[in-house]
Symmetry: C2
Subunit: 207 residues, 2 copies
DNA sequence: TCCTTGATGTCAGCTACTGACATCACCTTC
DNA sequence: GAAGGTGATGTCAGTAGCTGACATCAAGGA
């Protein structure tokens, strides 16, 4: 556990996850995390901007993946389909670490602090996706709206994937959730006109 | 400035806003806010759970308004229309305090901390709206999706309202943004099938 | 007048986070 | 292979957000 052991970041990340699960997120101090990784508190903060960030480090990679998928989508692909493809492209990342993702999600839903951080990361993904769409010539506000709608789909789909005992693929959840969104937004007339029809209840695919 | 002046909460809120604008959010300490309101730091934390919360206190009222609007919507109203109506119902709240809303928004966009808090408040509104929809018999995942989509619309519409030099009504922005969302989600086939048509670019209403 | 109650103050303390500076392992260069 | 440079780490002191425990004070009722 000498001063120059390799992979300090990884050690910190692992120590943090272990401690969070053993004693809970807020009963774990940064000093303890660092100690378990054989480092000092000060060094922890050189790798992670704050205590929460140790759980959200991966977002940068997701962002790149999403942006590149949108950028490289065939020109004829509609904005919403491009975003959907980008979200689906992230599925393998989670599939490989399903148990980690599940444990992490359990921590997040239990702690408001962490939920805040997750939401701003998702918002960051939405904004990156909107940028990429604008790069394809999509104008505002369609770009932002499409990106935000995509993220809304992702949120719901991800929750269902995490809780899905059958472990269906995340991209399947994304596709069905997107279809649900389309159904929900298509079920009435223009909002500026009076709705002409009684609510058509969306058929929920079994949960 | 005696110990028992009335409206401690209001004084704290006002002192905070003033100081944030004078010297910036993070160069203002809670102690300073309390001092300007003629109180102590400890008392500040009895009214607000944390420093950020002083800017988000109103969310509880918004939540009630949104929920009651959804609950009281005519039975035939579609879920999305009910949510849209609920969002529009909040417009007067902001209209009365347009300048305050603008100043507050400027602070929020400039500080990541505050953006995080705003996002979790919006997520809270979405979840309350989803509850209300379920109370109307809407099943999952349609309820969550409709609520999330509504919040996405609100985010975009609110940004545009804040930046709109013509000061059009917020509810107008909400309606047009909702129409944009419908256009965006309607422009392609089902995501489970291959998109049959080249992207139909959404017509962006002049910005 | 006394007593209860609720709002406020005081104080001590923890923890997240930061700036400044020292130290150490390793690598290059002569 | 000694000297010096470089980047990662440690040390230390300090600030600010936030909390628990307890004291104090104003107001209203018995």
């Amino acid at each position: 556990m000498g001063r120059w052991e390799p992979n300090a970041r990884g050690r910190l990340e692992e120590a943090a996850m272990n401690l969070f699960q053993e004693r809970g997120y807020d009963r774990t101090t940064v000093e303890e995390i660092a100690a378990r990784a054989g480092l000092t508190e000060r060094t922890f903060f050189r790798y992670f901007a704050d205590k929460r960030e140790v759980l959200f480090w991966g977002a940068g990679e997701l962002r790149k993946l999403i942006v590149s998928t949108i950028v490289e989508a065939p020109e004829e692909t509609s904005p919403l389909d491009a975003v959907a493809a980008a979200l689906e492209a992230t599925a393998p990342v989670f599939k490989e670490r399903r148990e980690y993702a599940r444990a992490r999600q359990a921590l997040i839903v239990a702690h408001t602090d962490l939920r805040e951080r997750e939401l701003i990361k998702l918002a960051g993904l939405a904004s990156a996706a909107a940028d990429a769409l604008r790069g394809r010539g999509v104008t505002e506000p369609a770009a932002s709206l499409t990106a935000e709608a995509g993220i809304a789909v992702f949120k719901v789909a991800f929750e269902r994937w995490v809780g899905d005992p059958k472990s269906q693929d995340l991209s399947r959840h994304i596709r069905t959730t997107l279809d649900e969104l389309k159904a929900v937004t298509a079920s009435t007339g223009t909002s500026t006109a009076n709705p002409r029809q009684p609510a058509k209840r969306a058929k929920a695919p079994r949960r």
